[in-house]
C-alpha cells in the first residue's frame, strides 16, 4: 500500500516531517480495484467541538461504499438509506448522534450487518 498527501493549502515546506501531520483532519478511503469506486470511507476527527461535522447528504452518491467509519460526527443524513451496499457503520466519539433530537429515524439501513459505537 502506498500513502501520499496532497497539500491543497500549500502549507508544507521542505522541512515537513510525517510526524507533524495532524490526523484529526484526515479522511481516507479504499477503492475497488475493478472499477475505482470508493468502497470504504473513513473520516477522522478530534473529540473537540471545533472538529465536529455533519456528514453531508452527498455521501449518497457513493453507491458502492460498503463500510463507513466516522469519528466525531454530530449528524447523520437520512440519505444514508440510499447506499445500496452499506454493510458496516462504525461511529467513534459520536454521542451527539445518540442524543440528537433530529436523528433521522426514517433512515432504514437495509443491508447493514455490522454497527458499532465506540467512545
Amino acid at each position: 500500500m502506498k500513502v501520499g498527501f496532497v497539500d491543497i493549502n500549500n502549507d508544507v515546506d521542505e522541512n515537513f516531517r510525517i510526524d507533524d501531520f495532524d490526523v484529526s483532519h484526515m479522511w481516507s478511503y479504499e477503492i475497488d480495484n475493478d472499477d475505482g469506486r470508493i468502497k470504504k470511507l473513513t473520516i477522522r476527527g478530534k473529540d473537540d467541538l471545533d472538529y465536529q461535522y455533519e456528514l453531508p447528504a452527498i455521501v449518497c452518491h457513493l453507491t458502492n461504499v460498503v463500510e463507513i467509519c466516522l469519528h466525531c460526527c454530530e449528524k447523520l443524513p437520512v440519505e444514508l438509506s440510499e447506499l445500496p451496499c452499506l454493510q458496516k457503520l462504525e461511529l467513534v466519539c459520536t454521542s451527539d448522534i445518540i442524543f440528537d433530537d433530529d436523528f433521522p429515524f426514517e433512515m432504514v439501513l437495509k443491508k447493514l450487518k455490522i454497527l458499532s459505537f465506540k467512545y
Partner: protein
C-alpha cells in the same frame, strides 16, 4: 435485577431497534453510563417482535461500559431472550463482580422454571471482569459460576 426508567423517546433509540433488518453484529465499546443505560433500556422495553434484527443478530458486544452484575442479569434474562439467534455475547472489560445472587435467585424453583434457556449462546466472554478473579478466591462464587454454566450448558467459551 435493574429497573430502567421509561423507554427513551429520542429518535435514535427507536431507529436502533426498528430500522436495521439485516443486522448481525451490534457493538458498544467504552461508553458512559448515560449512554449505555438508555440503549439497554430501549432493548429491554421493545417487544421482541418489534426488534427489526430479532432474527438476524448473532453477536452482541457491550465492552468497557461499566456494566455491573445487575446489568448482566438484565441482559441475560430480559434482553437476550428477545434475540434468539445471538450466539456470542461479549461483556469484556466491565465491572461484573459476581453471579452468585443471580444464581441463588435462579435456583428458586419458580424463577428457574420461567428462565429463558438462551440456547443459541455458545460464547459468553466475561474476561476480564472481577468475577473471574473472584472465583479463584471464593469457592461459593466458583460454585455459582459452575452452576450457571451447568444451567446454560450450550456455552463452551467464557
Amino acid at each position: 435485577m435493574i429497573f430502567f426508567p421509561q423507554q427513551p423517546t429520542l429518535p435514535f433509540f427507536a431507529w436502533l431497534t426498528k430500522q436495521l433488518p439485516m443486522l448481525e453484529v451490534l457493538s458498544f465499546f467504552h461508553m458512559e453510563d448515560e449512554e449505555i443505560d438508555p440503549i439497554l433500556d430501549a432493548l429491554n422495553n421493545t417487544p421482541s417482535d418489534n426488534l427489526s434484527f430479532r432474527d438476524t443478530l448473532q453477536c452482541l458486544t457491550i465492552a468497557d461500559c461499566k456494566l455491573n452484575e445487575n446489568h448482566f442479569e438484565t441482559i441475560w434474562t430480559d434482553i437476550l431472550p428477545k434475540l434468539p439467534k445471538v450466539s456470542s455475547l461479549s461483556l469484556s472489560l466491565n465491572n461484573i463482580q459476581s453471579v452468585r445472587f443471580f444464581v441463588d435467585r435462579m435456583q428458586i424453583s419458580d424463577m428457574a422454571s420461567c428462565l429463558p434457556s438462551n440456547k443459541a449462546v455458545r460464547s459468553l466472554l466475561l474476561h476480564p471482569n472481577p468475577v473471574l478473579d473472584n472465583i479463584k478466591k471464593d469457592p461459593d462464587e466458583k460454585a455459582a459460576l459452575l452452576s450457571f454454566l451447568h444451567r446454560f450448558h450450550t456455552i463452551w467459551d467464557i
